[in-house]
């Protein structure tokens, strides 16, 4: 059986035309007639008909009221457009694989399935892969590279906090003595460059490459050498564990992986940021905890109590549990740190790390200049 549609014989721009064919080589609108034989025959006046295999015909996107089809064996952009509903229905009934190009329920299920697999793999990587990579990679980063990193960080710190190094001679001597005993007890063989920076901010930092910076604000708040010694031992712990590199690798890995999720969904940035912060701060708390452990070991080796460090921290921050969301904090809560250090408290067995005179000199290290 073959049905043929009569090509309309009137010309004009926007009027209804039954069938239009574009051959994919030129934009010429060809008014054609269709013949449903063994293959679909697309006939144009004066030209040999184009033949399309029914099983090769696929539906392409079209506005309502138009059936637009393409053919796998034809030029990729060849299009046949049918505006006559009866003719469209007739063609549809003959093409078994017409809708194969469309994204149907099964295709969507596949996308969802693969996406979930990707999410699971990203989460697994963040939870296990990235910390492992940080632990394994940090020790093999060359010292020289770490130094460069430390230099860059130091330039920034001095821009923010001011470039006022304290170097009163007797104070410096006391500071060196304190660090020497700590380094010996810590078994730290890498170079350490200690420095006291004059600023009211109570803090201490270990920079990659071995620079330890003590802010004079912390000295001002300290009541005895053990308090400062504990903090310095904590920073030496960071150096020994190469925590700067570990944090760097961990944070950049986590940021990169978290950034893969939710890409361009407007407003999802906050979510990605929140989940990334959760992960990195949990890792950071672990790192701080192990630096605390290190500091406690060193203090006990020196026959001194680790408790004063906890007391100094508590004096500075106060009780944090009421105001801080503990899962977002980069350090363990101060009261918990104090509790841990108090549990390890015992009467000192060795003499103080600094004599009272030396301690006074250290406290006054920033006096001579400025």
């Amino acid at each position: 059986m073959s049905i043929e549609n009569a090509p309309s014989d009137d010309a004009g721009l926007n009027q209804r035309e039954g069938v239009v064919y574009f051959d994919g080589q030129s934009s010429r609108r060809r008014r054609v007639s269709l013949r449903f034989a063994d293959q679909l025959e697309i006939g144009e006046d004066g030209v040999a008909p184009v033949q399309w295999d029914y099983s090769d015909i696929r539906e392409a996107d079209s506005p309502p009221g138009v059936l637009r089809v393409t053919c796998l064996s034809a030029p990729p952009l060849a299009r046949l457009e049918i505006r006559d509903p009866q003719l469209a229905a007739e063609l549809k009934s003959r093409c078994p694989r017409l809708a194969e190009n469309q994204v149907d329920g099964r295709a969507i299920a596949k996308i969802v399935g693969w996406s979930l697999a990707a999410v699971v793999s990203i989460v697994t990587l963040v939870m296990f892969g990235v910390p492992l990579a940080a632990d394994r990679l940090a020790p093999i980063v060359p010292q020289s590279f770490e130094r460069r990193l430390g230099d860059a960080a130091e330039v920034q710190i001095k821009t923010i906090f001011g470039d006022k190094t304290c170097n009163d001679a007797t104070g410096q001597k006391a500071f060196d003595k304190l660090l020497r005993s700590l380094r010996q007890a810590a078994g730290l063989d890498t170079a350490v460059e200690p420095e006291v920076l004059s600023t009211s901010v109570p803090n201490a930092l270990a920079l990659p490459g071995g620079k330890v910076i003590l802010f004079s604000g912390l000295l001002a708040k300290a009541n005895n050498p053990d308090e400062i010694a504990g903090v310095l031992a904590h920073e030496l712990g960071h150096l020994k564990h190469r925590d700067n590199m570990r944090n760097l690798i961990h944070d950049s890995g986590t940021s990169f992986l978290a950034g893969l999720l939710f890409g361009d969904v407007t407003g999802a940035g906050a979510l990605v940021f929140a989940s990334r912060t959760l992960v990195t701060s949990s890792y950071s708390r672990e790192v701080e905890q192990s630096a605390d452990t290190f500091s406690m070991d060193v203090m006990q080796k020196l026959g001194r109590s680790p408790k004063p460090m906890g007391e100094l921290l508590f004096r500075i921050t106060g009780k944090q549990g009421d105001s801080e969301l503990s899962i977002l904090a980069s350090h363990p809560l101060t009261e918990d740190r104090l509790k841990r250090m108090s549990q390890a408290d015992r009467p000192p067995t060795d003499p103080p790390l600094l004599t009272p005179d030396e301690w006074t000199a250290l406290k006054a290290i920033c006096r001579s200049k400025s």
């Binding site: 392409a60 996406s115 330039v155 821009t159 990169f256 105001s323």
Partner: protein, 376 residues
């Protein structure tokens, strides 16, 4: 040959849009849900579906366009872009360290390199979209160099910043000239006839008003809508493909309603979000047996897990709904509005265009996604 008297050229609309708004709403609502389920990976297919809907319902001179890009291409482009961006980020990091050693924050100008890369991505993404645009069995395509474009964009961008925005019209004209003169429909070459000066004449008063509008915030959407309308009109009216000339009749106020609708919807969604958060707080406080006031005063709410979970769910629903609103008003409705103002002269020139041009990869779209940039 017979001489025909010159008649005033009729300017028929020629462009119509036949898409059903309800169908589009279902498309983007379902897409938002799937984006949630797939942690955003569905975006490649949603973007594609939106384009397919808009393109195939846009009829020019009786024939509808077609978008032949596919979500999978965008996904692959994104993955390739990631593979290329990773070493670039690493190199950026190393160069940053060296710069910071010399001087604190000396690395900030390096961000300029990323801006240039973003412009490159914009050019290449446009190329991908254009080569997936088919009309009458012939595709659009582009040549030219993404880097040549990026450097023009950076230099013009610097000039615009230095002149506090004064040079913006000339920047847009120059960049559009580059893009359009490298765009083709088959063997018909495009060009851009819009001049910076004409654009300037349309928007200079907005430039003067902007400092005041920054104080009177409510004026900002009006100014922005007027600017966008002027930009659309100027841009469309400059587009040429061979003898084909595009014109637009868009009025200054044409887009104001749309922007206010978006603001209204987002405000409404925010009200709903806060009402929901309040309700969650009541539920969470009562679970703890706490008085609601105390729940807030003691800041216990930031540590209440049920409240945080409920708040997270509420926020997710809020951003999904916001995305639907944006895709309806700022994508579809603007598209329809813009099309309704378009007039085309000389469409006869497209009657017999020879197909030409190669498909471009979706790498540019991937970069644009990875760098979070967007543009035409």
């Amino acid at each position: 040959m017979r001489w025909e008297p010159p008649s005033p050229p009729p300017v028929p609309s020629l462009v119509t849009f036949s898409g059903d708004r309800g169908a589009y709403f279902r498309l983007v609502a379902k897409g938002a849900g799937l984006e949630l389920v797939t942690a955003g990976f569905y975006r490649f297919w949603l973007t594609t579906d939106v384009r397919r809907h808009l393109w195939s319902n846009t009829t020019i001179d009786g024939d509808a366009a077609e978008y032949t890009g596919r979500g999978k291409e965008l996904l692959i482009g994104f993955l390739f872009a990631l593979a290329i961006l990773m070493p670039i980020y690493l190199a950026y990091f190393l160069v940053t360290i060296e710069a910071e050693r010399l001087r604190a924050f000396a690395s900030i100008p390096l961000l300029l390199a990323f801006y240039a890369f973003g412009q490159f991505a914009i050019y290449r993404a446009r190329r991908y979209r254009l080569t997936r645009t088919v009309w009458r069995g012939v595709r659009f395509w582009m040549d030219g160099s993404g880097w040549a474009y990026a450097w023009r964009a950076v230099l013009w961008g610097l000039l615009t910043v230095l002149t506090l925005g004064f040079a913006l019209p000339w920047r847009e004209a120059a960049l559009e000239r580059y893009k359009m003169s490298h765009s083709y429909y088959g063997d018909l070459q495009g060009s851009f006839e819009g001049r910076g000066w004409e654009f300037f004449k349309r928007v200079w008063w907005l430039w003067l008003l902007t400092p005041f509008a920054l104080y009177v915030v409510i004026a900002l959407p009006f100014l922005y809508a007027a600017f966008k309308a002027a930009e659309w009109r100027w841009w469309l009216s400059g587009i040429r493909f061979g003898e084909v000339r595009v014109e637009s009749t868009m009025t200054r106020g044409a887009l104001i309603g749309l922007y206010w609708k978006v603001i209204g919807w987002v405000a409404l969604l925010m009200v709903l979000l806060f009402a929901y958060l309040g309700l969650s707080a009541v539920v969470a406080a009562s679970m703890k047996g706490m008085h609601l006031n105390y729940f807030f005063v003691s800041r216990a709410f930031v540590r209440s897990v049920p409240f945080l979970v409920l708040a997270g769910i509420g926020y997710l629903a809020f951003i999904l709904a916001t995305n639907v609103v944006i895709r309806i008003y700022l994508v579809r409705d603007i598209w329809v509005k813009v099309l309704s103002t378009v007039r085309i002269r000389g469409i006869e020139a497209t009657a017999n265009v020879t197909a030409k041009g190669e498909l471009a990869s979706a790498l540019g779209e991937g970069f644009a996604d990875g760098l979070d940039v967007a543009g035409f």
